[in-house]
Structure formats: C-alpha cells, structure tokens
C-alpha cells in the first residue's frame, strides 16, 4: 500500500489503493480492458495486505466469489467493464436480495457489445440501476479524478457496509487511465457492517429505523439461511405476497430514505447561475473549464457535478430547476442522465443535452458554445 503523502498514480491504481485502505481483503476478477490495472495491482498488493486475490474463470464467478466471501466476513470487490458487468447482473440481483455488502467497479468502455473496447464511455449508468431482474435500489458513485478514484472507492465500501448493499463504482476508461496526483491521507474513516448484537439475530429483518439488519457471518453458529428466494427475517424461504412485498419494499426504502446522507454533489458557481451544467465523471472535466470560461466572459454559468449518481439527487436538481433558466446535461452516451433531469425538472426549465458517442470526451469548446447559446 502507498504511504500517506503525495503520489503520481494511474486512476485504476488509486481505486485499488482506496479499496485496500477501506479494508477490502478479497478481490475476485477476470481480465478486461480498461479495468485490468486494478486486478494487476491487487494481485501484488492484496497478499501483502493479508488478503486474497482470485482470478476467476469469468465475471459470473468473480462476483459470486465476492458475494460468498462477504458472507464469510470479507470486505470484497470486483472490477470490470461493461461486458463483464453485464455477465454479473444475475448474481448482483442475488446480492441485492440477500443484502450483501460489496463493491463493483465498472471502468466503463464504449459499447454496445465490444464496441470500442479500449475507449471510455458513460453508457452503463442505467445498467447499474436497472441491469438486473427484479426491483431494487442502488447506490452508484462516479469519480472524476485519480484522487476521487481513491476517495470515492473508500466511500463506496463504507456505504456498502453501512447499508448492507452492493455499491457500484462507475469510473470510465479515461479516469481509469489518467495519471494524476493522489494525496493519501494519514487516516480515513472506515465503517463496518453491523455485527449481531445477540444470539437471536434476524439477518434479514430489523426494527431499526435504518431498515438495515445485522449481518452475521458463516461459521459463527448462527446457522444462517441465505437465499435469493423470498424469505422471512430469519432467512427461511417464504413465497407469500406479504413476505415478498415487505422484503423488496424494505431493501428499496433503506436506500431511498438515506438519500440525503448518500448524496454527494460538487457545486461550482451555482449560487447565481442561469445556465446549470449537469455532468459526472470524465465528461465533467471539460464542463468545469467551459463554465469557468463562460464566467470570465460574464455568463452566469455553473456546474452541478454528481459524485453520487444513484440515488439520483432529485432535491438538488429540483431546487435548481426553480431558479435557473436552463440545464445543459453533458455525458458520454446517447443521452441517459438527461432523462433523469427531465423527469425531475418536469417542464419547468429548458433542458439541453450534449452527448458524445465514439469513445471521446466532449470538448470544452463544444460545451462552452452550448452554454453561451443557452445563456443568450
């Protein structure tokens, strides 16, 4: 692990460092560009940290091993890209149903299919939210720098442990491969899952207002029944309408009711803004420059950068919709996040969408021109 202080590292390496610092002690993965450096770095550092690196036979096996180890007590993660993320979806649905804390890093690349397999994209934000079968709510974070690859990975683990849920870390090929300064702090805040408070633990139900149950691990004598089928608070399978609906509603509500705590947005010049740019990850970088240039020119532009994409920060966007003239949503896909902004703004303001396909980050010039057009 890197010592506290300043380092020049690859985004993917910063992510792996953040995971190790957060207490991740099992990594299971399968080679895929542009996420490879995370697995490669883990294969060296994980054994040094006293943990385990597993190269599995595919991504299905990787996420399954992560889930299995989490129930054995591990903080665990996998890292992949779009195609591998697709393969994991069935088991991720299982992880939501069984409330298994874990972190999935998706260093997004340009699809559909193999597409531009080495080029960045932000096309998986809906896959993170809607990729698997069934109803569930997700937490997804998006970093825009090597520093955030570190900081937000730690946060991803803390959120996974606090809410007993899979957390999606949506990086992209550009941020994964960027080489930047990383400041490793002396200390970081670490959150651990709630251990059983007594012998009568109900691992899948709670009276606690957080709606997050205690989580025993295998081998402690709790005789756990962990199943992806509908189950009662004690884990026993029960297919009745009431038990199923109650379970699904709780696992959704525990995330949604905590949205204000999970929410993490960066605001740039938003106090008096007329044109609010909304973006995340790599595409937020040129947005920052475009907003600053527009400000220099006297245009009242601002940037709302989402570090938490899911749950979508509805309150922030809605409040902005009350007072800005226009939104400009910038993203590296065919227009996904813009639909969330439209939904929340609900016709109150003009909404423009600037999207880039082709594995390229939108340019500062294009964003700036669009900001100026909207500000006229």
């Amino acid at each position: 692990m890197l010592k506290p202080g300043r380092h020049l590292v690859l985004g993917n390496v910063a992510c792996a460092e953040g995971a190790l610092r957060a207490g991740c002690r099992l990594f299971a993965g399968y080679p895929i560009t542009p996420a490879n450096e995370i697995a490669e770095y883990m294969s060296g550092e994980m054994p040094r940290a006293g943990g385990y690196f597993l190269q599995m036979e595919d991504e299905i096996a990787s996420i399954a091993a992560v889930i299995g180890s989490s129930w054995a007590g591990a903080k665990a993660m996998t890292a992949t890209s779009g195609p591998g993320f697709s393969l994991m979806q069935e088991n991720l649905s299982y992880a939501h149903m069984t409330e298994t804390p874990l972190v999935v890093v998706d260093v997004q690349r340009s699809g559909p299919s193999t597409g531009q397999s080495t080029d960045p994209s932000q096309q998986d934000i809906y896959q993170a939210k809607y990729g698997a079968h069934g109803d569930y709510e997700v937490i997804a974070l998006s970093p825009w720098s090597a520093q955030e690859m570190f900081d937000l990975t730690i946060r991803a683990f803390n959120l996974a442990e606090e809410y007993r849920t899979p957390v999606y870390f949506l990086a992209d090929g550009m941020i994964g491969h960027i080489k930047e300064e990383l400041v490793v702090p002396e200390q970081v805040e670490i959150i651990d899952r709630k251990a059983p408070s007594g012998p009568a633990c109900t691992p899948f139900g709670t009276d606690d207002p957080s709606l997050v149950p205690e989580m025993p691990r295998f081998g402690q004598g709790y005789r756990l029944q962990v199943t992806g089928s509908s189950h009662r608070p004690n884990g026993v399978r029960d297919m009745s309408p009431k038990v199923h609906a109650g379970k699904v509603e709780r696992i959704m509500k525990k995330i949604l009711q905590a949205e204000p705590k999970i929410r993490d947005v960066a605001k740039v010049d938003l106090d008096d803004t007329e044109v609010a740019v909304v973006s995340f990850g790599a595409s937020a970088r040129p947005c920052y420059g475009a907003v600053k240039r527009a400000r220099d020119e006297g245009v009242r532009a601002g940037l709302l950068r989402l570090k938490t994409i899911w749950p979508f920060p509805e309150e922030e966007v809605s409040r902005l919709a009350e007072r800005v003239d226009a939104f400009l949503v910038v993203e590296m896909n065919a227009g996904k996040l813009v639909k969330e902004v439209q939904r929340v703004a609900c016709g109150r303001v003009e909404i423009a969408s600037l999207t880039r396909l082709g594995g390229v980050v939108p340019t500062l010039q294009d964003i700036h021109a669009e900001v100026r057009r909207l500000a006229r």
Partner: protein
C-alpha cells in the same frame, strides 16, 4: 450407529420436505448427515452451498448448519469465495446434473483444476426435474424428454470422468442404492484436502417414469427405480458374485420371460428387471452361460442377448491423489508476498 430419528432431530431443520414422494434427495441428505455425524464434525463449522434445482434443496432449507442457496449453476464459485476467506469452513456444495454440469459446467471444471478444498456432491437424475423433465447434458442419447419429444439428439457427459480429467483429486460415483458406499465416500471427501467430487446417480420418480418409460404404480415406482440403479451399474474392481446375462425382448417383456422359462426350465434363475440402457429385460442367472445363450437366441420372443456389463455405468472411487490445495497455496503466496518465508 445412530437411528434416522436421532440424526433427524440433530441435523434436520424441519419436518416438512419439498421433495416428491420417493425422491432420492432424502437418501442423500441422510448419507450426508450420517457422514458429518460419524466424523464428529461440529455442525456450526459446516457451510453448505447450493445452486438451483431439486438438489439445491438437500441442504437448504433442511440442514441445520450455515446454508447459502445461490443462483443457478454458480454454487461452487460462491463457495470458493467463502472458503478462501475462511478456510475453517467445512464447505460442501450440493448441485445437480443440470446445475453443475449444464449451466455451471465451467465452474465445475475450474474448481477441479484449482483443487480447492470443497466437497462437491452432484446429484445426477439425468434431467431437469424441477422445471418439468427437460433434456439435460446427462440425458442418454435417444431418450424422450419434455424438450426432446423425438428422442435426445445429443450425447451425454460422463461427469465423473470429466471432473477427473479436469484435475479433481478425489472422484467417486455411486447411486442412491449404494448408501453405505456413498456415506463412506462423503466421509472420505470431507476428510480429503482438495476438490472432492462425488456423483450420485439418483432416482426421480416424477420425471424418470416418463423419460425411461417405466410403468408402475406410484407406490412401486421408487423401489423399481432403486432396483434399476443396482441393475444398471457395476462397481470397479468388485467381481460379480453370480454369472448372468440379459435377454432383451423383441416385443412384450412378459412374453420373453415366458419363452425363456419354457426354454430353460429350472436350469436357470430368471427375473424381469429394469435396466437403464436395455429397458425391461429378462435377467438370466446360470452356472453355464454359453448353452443358455444358444437356446435363448433361437427364441422369437427374444431380440438379442446382452452380456452382464453391457451398457452399465461404472461406480467406485476413481481418483484419490494428493496435490497442492488452492487455499493453502494462496496462504503460502501471502506469506511470500509479506516476506515471512
């Protein structure tokens, strides 16, 4: 030896079972808890991992230890993560032929290759039973299933050989009619350091009665199927106690039986039996088989004569070796990485 009642009260969670009447899974559960009990393994150290299908219900919700009931075909990979992180867990995977050799076949061979310390019990009933008796990768060529109405166009896996070829260090195959041998193999598997694979050919009254075309009352069917497994298998290295052959009927088995009785008289012991690959046939036991063969082959009611071992499945312990175990190797890697050795 503990009674079933004692074992049940100590190891089984509830009285109700989801298994069909006459299912082989109860026998396998019985052998499993007996093995655990006889080895004196604390139940709280046992982690049972299962996938999807009838086999998955053997541990979950029946077994009174930690159980992880996972997704279809992936039980071994969930088990791998748990076992690596906590090697103290006595990790047992229950899977079926569809679950383990169909959708999860890739994970099965890779676990064998890694030689991870997991005991894997694969219940082979030669079809996808829970979903309605569809064709499985273990269904014999030509059999009619709910998705092969004109006969199975495919060839089946020999799963035990497949797993042995992939590098498993303990491989055995038994049937639900071989409870003593099966219990012994589960015990050996639990004590073995490495990937121990035990295939259990199992009866499935609900689906096999159609797939194999066995006409019997629901009361008779389970024992008919159990007898069939005895008749259709042989144990490697164990000589047969009696000399026998099979007369395959040309039409009705009863006619063949009657014709054989008339032709052979009291010189041979005859019985009508179910055989997995030959169908319903006349089993003929005699001191001298050659004259019997000559006489029977002249009869119109008999299509042909089959030798004792024709079309039979081999049982036994096929592999028993020592090779570095995966979680131990990972621990050695860790010590090396930290400069501790």
């Amino acid at each position: 030896m503990k009674s079933l009642k004692q074992l049940k009260s100590e190891y089984i969670v509830q009285n109700l079972t989801a298994f069909c009447p006459g299912c082989g899974n109860g026998i396998i559960l019985n052998c499993f808890v007996r093995a655990i009990d006889e080895l004196g393994i604390p139940v709280d150290s046992v982690l049972s991992v299962a996938g999807i299908g009838c086999s998955a219900w053997i541990p979950s919700p029946h077994f009174r230890g930690d159980t992880l009931h996972t997704t279809h075909g992936r039980a071994i990979t969930f088990a791998t993560g748990a076992k690596v992180f906590n090697p103290e867990l006595r990790t047992v995977v229950f899977t079926g032929d569809g679950d383990g050799a169909g959708i999860g076949g890739n994970h099965l061979i890779h676990a064998a290759r890694r030689n991870i310390d997991i005991t894997c019990i694969l219940v082979n009933n030669m079809n996808y039973a829970m979903t309605g008796g569809q064709l499985a990768p273990t269904t014999m060529h030509g059999l009619r299933t709910s998705t092969s109405p004109f006969g199975n166009p495919e060839q089946p896996f020999d799963i035990a050989k497949l797993v042995a070829g992939a590098g498993a260090t303990y491989v055995a195959r038994w049937t639900t009619n071989h409870v003593v041998e099966l219990t012994r193999s589960i015990k050996e598997g639990l004590q073995h350091r490495g990937f121990a694979f035990i295939e259990v050919m199992s009866q499935c009254p609900t689906q096999q009665r159609n797939i194999l075309g066995i006409r019997a009352t629901p009361q008779e069917l389970p024992s008919r199927l159990l007898d069939m497994w005895a008749e259709s298998t042989y144990i490697r290295g164990r000589p047969e106690r009696v000399r026998y052959l099979y007369a395959v009927p040309s039409k009705a088995p009863e006619e063949a039986m009657k014709a054989a009785e008339q032709a052979l008289g009291p010189s041979a012991k005859l019985s009508l039996v179910d055989h997995l690959t030959l169908g319903r046939v006349v089993r003929v036991e005699a001191e001298e088989l050659e004259p019997v063969r000559d006489r029977l082959s002249k009869l119109g009611a008999i299509d042909r004569i089959a030798d004792a071992l024709e079309g039979k499945i081999e049982l036994g312990v096929f592999v028993r070796e020592e090779r570095p175990e995966y979680t131990e190797v990972l621990r050695a890697v860790g010590r090396r990485a930290r400069g501790e050795e």
